[in-house]
Symmetry: D2
Subunit: 319 residues, 4 copies
């Protein structure tokens, strides 16, 4: 273990030597799940020293084995780092990590930058940003688009909500984990943009699945039909990049029994956030509402862990 | 009139002189509406001599002034041409033009090729193909994607349903009117593919409209939100090429009060065909069904003549 | 067989002795399934002599054991009876029984009354009525509302489509099998009324299920909530007579694991007919369309044989 | 003013003389709109002395002319009465009347009973009940079913949420304004039950409208079709008591151009509350969601002030 640590320390030294633009300051990272861990690894691979925390010890150990320093809780992270990323499952976890007695705000250093990459409701994001101001810190909501693969390969898209200077400050760090960093507006705008994109994605994925199933019922070949659609006005990412019909494309979840990818349960979560926002803002979203209920039904009928493109399977007729 | 004819004859002679690959045989063209007339003009511009018919005399006159020969009815066209294109509003017109006493089948020459570019129900297309066989002729369904602009500029997409030899025979002619000619399968497959694409298009256009309206209700800029979506998994033709929100893109119907483009009434027609096919084939299409009823409501509330992207306007909240 | 016949003849003699108003003529009955057999039994119990046919021999045997005469096919029935009831699963069976070489029309006696109690599409019903006219007979569409229980207890509701004299002629016979005989209009009107009622029923059953599930998620008691609804503007047959929530009412399918009653597969069939009619008649039916797709999904996920009120179960959240 | 008071005092004396069971204590009533004023009048007609407040002076004057005492604000009502009814448009008004500096809680007497008849979100109702407890008072949510007519004729249905003793204490007063007083559960249960009923009502009204329109498109008489449905499994309050098709019933909004009744805008408000509750409680409500969006669209297309049964008109095809 001591040896292992030396090796890692050496690794960090080495990476600092050959990586230009890397900060000598510690960066905090809280939330080392399926998404958070590969994101943290990309930061380390690009020269950052990380102080990390997660409630699951094995995840922390994995980060430490790559060079991270383990902290005993969010407040310990805040004491050591002035730039902190959080990547957590849902709103209540974010509230907990930021506002609980042992949370970030209990020990945060003045002038710190807090970057929340979690997908949570817009109101909570705005509330966190206001609490950050009261603590003389900056908060930016920075939810991501792209799944575990994109997180691993540093190809995430970040959608940022916060003041201009905050965006400028966060951008260089986020670019080490993603290919696109969009500034979408004031605090909350990152979360709002994220649910807009994902609601549309769900609608398009369901629509594509309906159409490719109907195509086959009408005697068409789904691969050929997809090809025509991709060259026509029905074209979308769901059809040309992530086709839900098994056999049309390789290397997508539909061709490996809908394993991996972006889970149906996570899509349900995003659609729930989207409909809460739609109802609250009096937006007329008949297809968005239907999308939520279709994903609700999928979760209730055994599809929760499958990729969200398995809606194709859910809608498919038995023989 | 005689003089006019001579001028046209000269024009045709002239075009034959400078156009390589043009057939010396007459091509028939029945149905010279908003789509049919520019399609016919493209054939003539690329060297084909046309014998044409339409029930509206001014449309026939327009074609004649460009060099076409006017016929007195479908049977007259069939007597003079062994390749005939039809471009008609709906199934009943196709049945009428092909099967009525003065229709194509009453005078068609053995071995003729009949290319129906109309969008009609798949069953009618299959029925026409069977009647064609009984008359020792070939029939191919060849509905188009793309509006008046694409027809004018020869940029249509053709979706063909029929036997291989029929496809090979039709392709060179259709390439003079369009950029893509897809062979989708047996007779009826062209029509089936067309409604698959258009049903998906309607779903995506409604979804895009819902999302861009909600985005604004949540304080986002629709242009910026579209930009993020276009770089993310919500990307589609409806958002990146034909954006329904006024001001996001130039030169699309949404930026000219939804004038021109592909009419809401026509989308309703296609969605009606799609749902008839879905119900008949026991396909599960919740969003496709909802799309039909939204376009039905639009037609009932003053949007029939507007471009189909005006669903954005239909869903928009009053201030 | 001869002996059996004598016994049956005695039974018929006996029944004629104690039953007033019974016709001495044979009545034909074709289709002795779950609905047809108890309907035929009611006719016999009220004094009618029946000549019957079904493709399933055990069903014919059951009717014969109650006094019916077995025929070898529809044409044999038509030769012996001038009033014939048919109760068949779907349109194609009706077409077959009426129009095939050994069908009713091949041997029907002039002036016969043909009463089709099957639920089929309106167009087929109208077509059968026209063929009947050509054969100098009368046809009336008479689909029923009410399940196996109502059929057994003579409590069906008949919805009739046909001319006035035909209605008057059919009514006394149908009243022996049901409590209500409605004359809904010309031929096809019976079928049209049936799908109108059943489409509304499906919508109300889904709506009631959604509401009683949401009620419980909000901490309400479903029995008490149903009681309030039944005294308020949300009242409907689905809530006050056939409540889909287990435990609210006794003696309904929801209280016996959704066994018995009116099957989900049959509701899907009726909703398919309804949507074909809606699309064909350009009717705007967003909830009717959604109802079809929900029942489609139920059939695809194991609910086909359950009572149609099991939509409650299909929508229910797992714990 | 002094004179006026004497007259009112005389009126109260007089009413106490002829009304048995009337309390000699003042009852507070805040919110004298279309619903509140007739409710207050029923209390006065049945012997109660009222101290009232509304922001609209003419409404207060109307109550005063019937014998009520005008207060200058909610806190003044709370100083004079220990039983207070509130009947307000929406959640924010309730919060304001109860919690603002001049609100009820600023001056409420210990042991008072606060009965909120407004339709508001369940969470706000629960929050008010908790604030009430902190102020040593009792709060019960008591939203009503039934429109202006039921309020005027004392035929409302009350749905109560609160502790048993609170229900027992409120019941005698509410029975003077309504025919049914249901105890639905703890605080919030009244509001929850109300939105359950109204969500179901909306679904049934839309479904009935779809069906009666389709019926006519299929050649049926809507009055006859309604009669059959009312005797069958499609029966509901929307069809047998409040039929949305003009001409089927007398004395309902559909027969007077959808004037009066329960406004489309109010139904939208209730459906918005229902969907917020559905999304928040993870309830699967596809038809409830669709109902919200249909009523949203109606409000956006000129139906906001019409009775909610005008969805029939909204869905109707133009000729």
């Amino acid at each position: 273990m001591a040896l292992g640590y030396s090796v890692h320390a050496f690794g960090r030294l080495f990476s600092r030597m050959y990586t230009s633009g890397a900060s000598s300051d510690l960066v905090g990272f809280i939330g080392l799940g399926n998404m958070g861990l590969p994101m943290a690894r990309n930061l380390m691979a690009k020269g950052h020293r990380l102080v990390v925390y997660d409630t699951v010890k094995t995840q922390v150990d994995a980060a430490v084995s790559d060079g991270a320093i383990a902290a005993t809780g969010p407040s310990e992270v805040a004491k050591q780092a002035t730039t902190i990323c959080t990547m957590l499952p849902a709103s209540q976890h974010v509230r907990d990590v930021y506002t609980s007695p042992g949370g970030i705000f209990s020990a945060v250093q003045s002038g710190s930058l807090l970057i929340d990459c979690s997908t949570i409701d817009r109101d909570s994001a705005i509330e966190m940003s206001e609490l950050a101001k009261e603590n003389n810190t900056q908060y930016i909501d920075a939810p991501v688009s792209g799944g575990v693969g994109a997180a691993t390969n540093g190809l995430l898209t970040f959608m940022l909500g916060g003041p201009d200077d905050c965006y400028e400050r966060a951008k260089p760090l986020l670019e080490k984990m993603g290919k696109n960093v969009f500034h979408c507006g004031e605090n909350g705008a990152g979360q709002a943009t994220k649910i807009c994109n994902n609601m549309l994605l769900a609608i398009e994925m369901i629509g594509t699945s309906e159409v490719l199933l109907m195509a086959q019922n009408l005697g068409l070949d789904p691969k050929l039909c997809s090809k025509v659609i991709n060259a026509s006005s029905g074209r979308s990412w769901s059809c040309d990049t992530y086709n839900p019909c098994p056999g049309v494309m390789e290397n997508v979840p539909s061709s490996r029994n809908y394993e991996g990818g972006f889970g149906t349960g996570l899509m349900r979560k995003d659609l729930t956030l989207a409909q809460a926002a739609a109802v609250g803002s009096k937006s007329v979203t008949p297809l968005g509402a239907m999308a939520l209920h279709i994903y609700n039904l999928m979760c209730q009928h055994g599809f929760e862990k499958k990729d969200f493109s398995s809606v194709y399977k859910f809608l498919e007729q038995e023989n």
